[in-house]
Point group: C2
Chain length 568, copies 2
């Protein structure tokens, strides 16, 4: 490919609002361009990377017997209504209507669609297990698209779906996908770790995310340094510390706390540490009833856990009427005497706490859970740095940032039950499909590769996903001898099966080398007046600091050999 006709120009500077190194480099190197907020176009260079990423995914899906197909972007509302996701996904999806008023979703995923197909294509247990996948554009109405391709409003996802006879079969399919994912990310040089995760909108119980640990990530990942425990903060638990149990605590007594409605204000005015305080949140459950959640002042509430406990898709706070009904006063809510279902977080010990008195300007001292109030015990708190690992019971957990590049869900019969999607079992009865779904975001993977493979000059592509393998540079391109030699080198390399970007532009050495470092093709081969004098070509690896002069006569053999070794 001649760079003089390449569609897409490199930028000296990234736009000021580019948020991460990968975002800046992706824009500067003409990998992708926004058409609107969160809507990106792959320029030709980036398109080649995306296709290589897709091909790696395809090969590993095919290897485990997953069959490629393609479902449409637009899917009818009726299908989503069979599982209740038409309403549940409303806040995050794009919808459209045809001119007859029929509604469609710009699909969020394809569980409903693929179950609908499975119902007609799979009649008997003899056709199971079955796994299918496709690469298809998904729509997500993200309120805040962020950091280039890391969080967008439309992206191509590889989504795979497994159908099994029973949970043992699902476990096998799930493990096959888990193994494929490990190979996929390794092949694209992403150090992704598998992390326990919340199932969220997908339903079911077991789920893993593949997270690349990097500071640009927006997910918080809890990691044990002593064992292999890794979990998304949304799902992470901890091994409880030895409970603090105080005895002979006096009965609760009121303290006057005028205008002291926040935890921080309370700590300051009473001069206590936050672990001595209780905070009580008033929320509404799925049915609209008021629910109180009680935690120590030093623990943050975990929204994902709360959503699951409350059975809601978002955490809703109680309103003024709810406060009145529960006998609570805003800013002074406490569990004692509260008229509401009460959930007590597992981190609340049997000790004396200071809590709201449900009375203006007043708190209670010496409040003890189990004595002064009761409630269902739940785990609704965030793990924090230094908590004890729930698996090995020894490691002190640490919290990292991660980018989720893939996720897998074992949802079992979550969809087939709702959709009555069944097959004829060996015993003659009809049984629901037992399924899982398995996603990888192509664009997010590409940018995460950049986030983790660059230096201050530009991208350093792993060769398996590089837009081209060799960048040939002619210096200057208007020198006939140089041009003839460079043309010949390009032709011979291409004939040897090497992918070449050829900088034949009428630009200075400075511009050409800067662009070459920015675009980050693994090998650079420079043909210049100087190298020609010695009948040589200058070869430099993008990741190396030193270049090397190699004889022109063996240059094709040397370079194509180096490419082959790097690809192996």
């Amino acid at each position: 490919m001649r760079q003089s006709s390449l569609f897409g120009r490199t930028l000296r500077e990234a736009p000021a609002d580019a948020q991460t190194p990968g975002h800046r480099l992706m824009l500067r190197a003409a990998i992708a361009r926004p058409l609107a907020s969160g809507l990106y176009t792959w320029l030709p260079l980036g398109f080649r990377v995306a296709k290589k990423v897709e091909q790696i995914i395809r090969e590993e899906m095919d290897r485990i017997g997953c069959q490629e197909m393609e479902m449409p972007v637009l899917t009818p509302a009726e299908l989503w209504k069979t599982t209740g996701r038409w309403e549940a996904l409303e806040p995050i999806t794009f919808r459209t209507k045809d001119h007859n008023g029929r509604e469609f979703m710009v699909s969020y995923t394809h569980e409903e669609a693929v179950h609908s197909h499975a119902m007609s294509e799979i009649q008997s247990y003899k056709q199971l297990p079955a796994m299918v996948y496709h690469f298809q554009s998904k729509g997500r109405d993200e309120a805040r698209p962020r950091a280039g391709l890391l969080r967008v409003r439309e992206f191509v996802m590889k989504d795979a779906y497994s159908f099994d006879i029973d949970h043992a079969g699902l476990e096998k399919s799930y493990q096959a996908q888990h193994g494929a994912y490990a190979r996929i990310f390794e092949r694209m040089s992403l150090a992704a770790v598998s992390v326990e995760s919340d199932t969220g909108a997908m339903g079911g119980d077991t789920a893993h995310e593949f997270q690349v640990l990097t500071d640009v990530g927006e997910d918080r990942i809890v990691v044990c340094p002593r064992c292999d425990y890794r979990a998304n903060m949304e799902k992470a638990t901890r091994s409880p510390e030895a409970p603090i149990s105080e005895t002979n605590v006096p009965a609760p007594s009121e303290i006057s706390t005028p205008s002291t409605t926040s935890m921080e204000a309370l700590q300051t005015s009473l001069k206590v540490t936050p672990d001595r305080l209780l905070k009580t949140l008033l929320l509404r459950d799925a049915a609209g009833n008021v629910v109180a959640v009680v935690l120590p002042g030093d623990r943050d509430v975990n929204e994902a856990k709360l959503r699951k406990i409350l059975g809601t898709s978002e955490v809703k706070f109680a309103g003024a009427a709810d406060f009145t009904a529960a006998g609570a006063v805003a800013g002074y809510v406490g569990p004692v005497g509260l008229r509401a279902r009460t959930l007590v977080d597992s981190s609340v010990d049997a000790r004396a706490y200071i809590a709201g008195a449900n009375k203006k300007d007043t708190h209670l001292r010496n409040v003890v859970a189990g004595r002064d109030f009761t409630g269902e015990r739940v785990d609704a708190h965030d793990v924090r740095e230094g908590d004890t690992c729930p698996k090995c019971k020894q490691g002190a957990l640490s919290i990292k940032r991660g980018v989720e590049v893939g996720n897998i869900f074992a949802y079992g019969t979550y969809y087939s039950d709702k959709m009555n999607a069944t097959f004829l079992a060996e015993d003659g009865t009809r049984k629901p499909f037992v399924g899982g779904s398995y996603g990888i975001g192509v664009g997010r993977s590409v940018q995460t590769i950049i986030e983790t493979h660059h230096d201050d000059k530009g991208i350093i592509w792993p060769i398996a996903v590089a837009p081209y393998e060799v960048h040939v540079i002619a210096l200057p391109s208007n020198d006939e001898a140089v041009r003839t030699a460079a043309d010949a080198l390009v032709k011979d390399l291409e004939r040897a099966g090497v992918e070449v970007l050829y900088d034949d532009r009428d630009e200075s050495a400075g511009v050409k080398f800067a662009d070459s470092d920015l675009i980050g093709i693994p090998f650079r081969a420079t043909v210049s007046k100087r190298t020609l004098k010695e009948d040589k070509v200058e070869l430099k690896e993008r990741s190396a600091s030193e270049a090397e002069l190699i004889p022109r006569t063996t240059a094709v053999e040397r370079i194509s050999g180096a490419v082959r070794r790097a690809l192996a």
Copy 2:
């Protein structure tokens, strides 16, 4: 691929509403399945065909220097508003809004998007010409999806865009695409002919469609049997016959024609041929003004020509108030004395016609154009069978049905003028890009291949686009010797690079052969107890009537050789 685990089952019968042979076979052979009206999923077999079709297109685009990229499905309303197509395309497109009320289109095509990119990526004439393309899903809110993949509401289109310095450059790019299209359709065994066409919603002047002439098509194509003139009916013209000129026609006189408001009724009651009648249509132009169009009774009005003449996106008929204002009476409209702008079709001769008298139950006889009424001359009529070719002036035109599998538009500066999309020209001024766009529908191509390559038993795939090259059939698969031999044949063929579908199902010979004929893979290799007795394999081409027994020892060589020759 083992057929026992193939996702997608063949059907004995097509659904009753399947409209064409290709539609029926596509469904029966598990090529694609509808998820809703006009929304289709490629099942694994069909997906392979679609990908081969895409790859052929890709290779021919790459060959002419067209660069692959990928623009998003959702594109912002603001972009479409710059060219007025947000409104113009409303009736045929799907729109969506984000939760902030910002509007997007499920893109109809990508002219606006690609021009927006060209404005930022192409700065100077040195970067021109440039051609880019992508394969992307398009949305079309078709009121009447039809005949399977022939007319759908979402489909993948290859759309390419060229950018040139001037019209001479555009002409070259257009010819390069025209040539690529010819090769593409030839490689996929589609006998597509290039046909002059109307530019419709795409703007510009020059356009061609690639039409496959088949009775299942919904387009009408005018073809000259003597020369290479081919045009879509929407655009077709004819060489005028020697005009009939009658002299000494008496002045118009009234005839009483009670309740005779149709051309047919008039012919019957007056016993005249339709060429002696004039019909006058009252329409509204883009500005809402009334316009009369006058044609002979034996000529049909051509809506596409009318739209162009009136500058509207759809032909709108005049209402009651318009009739009153124009002094016309419904059913008795005529050009004499009409108070409206009058367009006279070129097929109206200088002879005596019978026309409406603009008076209830009354017509006029001896109405002569130019004498009794005047108007602008336009070509607003359909060509009909037997008209004279406008190109060679000799051939008698015939009218065929066609499926449009591709189209190319040379729109020039239609978009760049509206979007102010310019580049720095060699003379230092800024000039608008001169462009064209070039589309091919993948799904429609696939089904058109089926429409033109089948017999009463099933599909007969051209090998270049066949889902697999060889169908190996084990009979019966539960016989160990048969199974072992068939397994080995499949393995050896695959090792030789041949794509094999392996019918390892526990089904009868009848079912397996019927499915094999239905799916239509080019070569069938049967391993049965009978063939094993002679140490042979039965080889049959799908398109041949006779099978042949070949020695097992050389079977792989024979079959892979036959595949290679067929592919060459």
